[in-house]
């Protein structure tokens, strides 16, 4: 039975994908449709002008001479054939453009989430071990201060401190330009480039996990099972980790799923500040250039990522707490 639960969960999730995707496509399409000006206007601004015949030819080529409905239907029917269309802003197939950016965003998000989760939980446990103590108050305050900081500002400060003043780390980019590095050397190079952006994105979200962990633990100290454990003579790290922290982990894991979407949003800014070619920056470029197929491609891929993360969270949840996940109620 235990092996079947994750499968059932996945099946239910897969069915849920369809309406979510439909909403994403419809929403993004309607959004760009309602914005005045189209891809040809954006293109002409970029090239400094052109004449009416050229513009008409471009609109015909990009299918913009048709109404929103035929264009939407054409997009949907192409999508059904797994064709994401042509990006007018990049002059390349949308799939090529988004797939080239996906690994960078996943890397940035994954590492930042890892940092926020691990450091946040760790500090949360330190705080939650003795709620109200000096260490709890100091750490909580520091975390809130970080949370209150705009990510881009933190990023700029880090750049000035570690790239400009001391040339320890690169100020931007995902890897050294045409370095010719391969294998582990290349991985190390990418790692060096990701230190500052991961810190800027991760430290801000760390506070959330710290608070969740700490507050969860603070409540648990008053629970009967903790008192019982104490009565049995359990104390110290064993009590904190086994009984209190472990039970406080559930809301943290829940937050992980919710946070993945927010972090995609945060990466728009961080990717711009650090000149990382990722999905977030791509989305803002797609809007600025009225590149509807590209925006839809980014949104679909992002939705897929968020849903995948949430699926993983649900699976993890089912493992952490046997009462959830069966779908038949506990």
């Amino acid at each position: 039975m235990a092996g079947r639960r994750p499968l059932a969960l996945m099946r239910r999730r897969l069915i849920g994908v369809v309406p979510v995707f439909a909403l994403v496509v419809l929403g993004a399409f309607a959004l760009l449709e309602s914005a005045p000006g189209d891809a040809v206007d954006a293109y002409l601004a970029g090239i400094g002008g052109g004449d009416a015949a050229q513009m008409a030819a471009l609109r015909a080529e990009w299918g913009l001479d048709q109404g929103p409905l035929p264009r939407f239907l054409a997009y949907i029917s192409a999508l059904a054939r797994l064709d994401l269309g042509w990006s007018t802003a990049f002059g390349r197939p949308v799939l090529d453009v988004v797939l080239a950016r996906l690994p960078n965003t996943l890397l940035l998000m994954g590492l930042a989430t890892g940092l926020a989760l691990s450091l946040g939980s760790l500090l949360g446990i330190i705080c939650g071990a003795r709620p109200g103590s000096l260490q709890d108050r100091t750490l909580s305050l520091a975390a809130i201060a970080l949370y209150a900081m705009p990510g881009f500002w933190l990023g700029l400060v880090l750049i000035v401190a570690f790239s400009v003043e001391r040339r320890w780390l690169p100020s931007g980019g995902i890897e050294t330009v045409a370095s010719g590095l391969t294998g582990l050397d290349r991985a190390a190079d990418i790692g060096r480039h990701l230190v500052l952006p991961v810190l800027s994105l991760g430290l801000v979200y760390m506070a959330l996990y710290l608070r969740l962990m700490r507050d969860g633990m603070a409540e648990l100290w008053a629970q009967d099972f903790v008192r019982a454990a104490r009565a049995r003579g359990m104390h110290g790290a064993r009590l904190v980790l086994r009984h209190v922290a472990r039970n406080a982990l559930l809301p943290v894991v829940t937050m992980l799923g919710l946070q993945s979407a927010a972090m995609l949003g945060g990466s728009v800014v961080i990717e711009s500040v650090f000149a990382i070619p990722g999905l977030g920056r791509l989305a803002s470029e797609a809007v600025a250039r009225r590149d509807t197929p590209l925006l839809l491609g980014v949104m679909l891929l992002s939705a897929m990522v968020v849903m995948l993360v949430n699926l993983l969270v649900d699976l993890a949840y089912a493992m952490l707490d046997p009462r959830v996940g069966s779908g038949t109620g506990g």
């Binding site: 000006g37 090239i47 400094g48 002008g49 052109g50 002059g91 390349r92 500040v273 000149a275 009225r290």
Partner: protein
């Protein structure tokens, strides 16, 4: 970057530089060509990535910034040479007396990057099939080009259906005559040709790779016709979308040069003090941007020339140059900038800062102040292209309020602004930044010529209509005598300024910041968009 610069704030050129115009430049001391060493990678800041990099199709600074190193025009702008032109793929040019033909002598011993020989057939093909049919600005300039004869491999004779001023073609050579290889374009869909992204040219650098969102890389062309050039091994354009990024990357020595004012004016004071950094305010004379107020003449109040004159009198141009451009600009009263000593007319009507006169004109026009001191209300759409266009929008609102005109600012992003102004014409006044490209016929007269269909951007969508102006534009376009052409364009400037077809406020340009070991920077009037063959690192 785009021609209109929706990127970071741009800091323009100091006034003294703008005033030292093209015609005055032959008298400047000849700058010695500094000794650069061979080799090295020059990394520069870029803020946009045009999907189509073909300069024969798209004459824009964003395209030229990269493409001018790979694909060459027939001639390039020069501070000292005759007609302000240095030879590139053409070594000589001669216009016929009747204006019906223009003969180019082409450079010999030139090969394309794919090793095929360059010949007059490439020039003929580029002119007839690319510039004339697809060039965003070339279509207008080469409209009457009928045929290109190629009596031998190194001669191209352009034949025009109507007399065409050789002066105009000469002025158009740097920007509108990029030659592309016939063997790659013939018989293909030119707009969709893969060579529009993977450029193949005759220039000092070859196209190596484009990583969207990251960088574009060019490498040295070992078989360049000028065997002594180029000095650099590589040029890398790093995409830096954030406003602070270029300054930081320069300081961290990750890039060595930022052109087109990629370093914001606000950071310029600090950057200029960093040891090893050099600030150049010249090298953009061939691409002057103009700060103008566009006026919708269909609006009843604005159809009265007295109201338009009042608006022109309400603006303190000196204040604008001082406060908004921090001195890096020059005031302007007409459609041809001062730095074009050939065409700039000095005897146009000047509209000095005079709010009393503005108030009197508005009273006279029959728009007295009503309750709250307001005469009438306007929609003001500042173009989002530059920080300065937006800031001037704020200033203009205050300046108009002082004379009783209540302007409401409507902010749009770039595509929405283009749609509102040039297609829907849903504006009363705007703040715009048209480019003057070395000859009034290239992209300036179109701001005043009537009868254009809606949807053509950076053109007269203003409802301005003066048959005399239309006649002058038409006549000048077919006048082959240089002096007569100048006289006609002077009359044109006088007329549109009298009419206040639009209000010219200032002329501005850009700043280049570079490491001081980068040599031969800003040594021609279109430096950022020229080939950088002589640019290199200090020994």
């Amino acid at each position: 970057m785009t021609d209109l610069r929706d990127g970071p704030m741009r800091a323009p050129l100091p006034r003294r530089r703008l005033l030292a115009g093209a015609a005055a430049l032959p008298f400047l001391p000849r700058p010695a060509l500094a000794q650069a060493k061979r080799g090295g990678r020059l990394t520069v800041a870029a803020d946009s990535e045009p999907p189509n990099l073909n300069p024969a199709i798209i004459a824009s600074n964003g395209v030229f910034f990269v493409a001018s190193k790979v694909i060459e025009p027939l001639a390039e702008a020069d501070y000292r040479a005759k007609d302000g032109l240095a030879p590139r793929l053409a070594t000589a040019w001669e216009g016929a007396a009747d204006g019906r033909s223009l003969t180019f002598t082409l450079r010999q011993g030139v090969t394309w990057h794919d090793a095929k020989p360059f010949s007059s057939a490439d020039v003929a093909f580029s002119a007839l099939e690319v510039w004339k049919k697809h060039g965003n600005l070339g279509r207008a300039v080469f409209r009457e080009l009928e045929a290109v004869e190629t009596p031998d491999a190194h001669t191209a004779i352009f034949r025009f259906a109507v007399p065409t001023p050789a002066q105009l073609i000469r002025n158009a050579l740097p920007a509108l005559t990029a030659v592309v290889p016939k063997h790659l374009y013939e018989g293909t869909d030119i707009m969709r040709n893969p060579a529009n992204q993977k450029l193949v040219g005759t220039g000092p650098f070859r196209f190596a790779e484009w990583r969207p969102g990251e960088y574009t890389r060019l490498v040295r062309n070992p078989t360049y016709w000028d065997q002594a050039r180029p000095f650099l091994n590589e040029i890398v354009y790093r995409v830096l979308p954030d406003r602070a990024a270029a300054a930081n990357a320069l300081e961290a020595e990750e890039i060595q040069l930022a052109a087109f004012s990629a370093v914001p004016l606000a950071d310029l004071d600090r950057i200029a003090k960093v040891p090893g950094m050099k600030v150049y305010s010249n090298g953009y004379e061939g691409l002057t941007y103009q700060l103008v107020v566009e006026i919708n003449h269909r609006r009843k109040e604005l159809s009265d020339v007295r109201v338009r004159r009042a608006i022109a009198h309400a603006i303190d141009r000196d204040f604008v140059v001082r406060a908004i451009f921090r001195g890096f600009a020059a005031t302007s009263q007409g459609p041809v900038p001062k730095n074009d000593r050939v065409f700039h007319a000095t005897d146009v009507a000047g509209y000095g800062f005079n709010p009393q006169r503005a108030n009197a004109l508005l009273d006279e026009a029959g728009y007295p102040r009503s309750e709250g001191g307001i005469r009438f209300r306007l929609r003001l759409l500042p173009a989002p292209f530059f920080n300065e266009t937006r800031q001037f929008g704020d200033y203009l609102r205050q300046a108009l309020a002082a004379v009783g005109i209540d302007a409401t600012i409507v902010s749009n992003d770039t595509p929405a602004h283009l749609r509102a102004v040039y297609t829907d014409r849903a504006f009363d006044i705007t703040v715009a930044s048209p480019v003057y490209r070395g000859d009034p016929a290239i992209s300036t007269t179109i701001l005043f010529q009537s009868g254009l269909p809606a949807g053509v951007p950076f053109a007269n969508q203003y409802g301005y209509e003066n048959p005399e102006v239309d006649a002058l534009i038409k006549q000048a376009a077919a006048t082959i005598d240089d002096a007569e052409r100048v006289r006609l364009y002077n009359a044109f400037q006088k007329q549109v300024t009298d009419d206040v077809a639009l209000v010219n406020v200032a002329e501005f340009s850009f700043i280049t910041v570079a490491r001081d070991n980068v040599l031969n920077v800003s040594n021609n009037p279109r430096w950022a968009v020229s080939n950088w063959a002589d640019t290199g690192f200090a020994v």
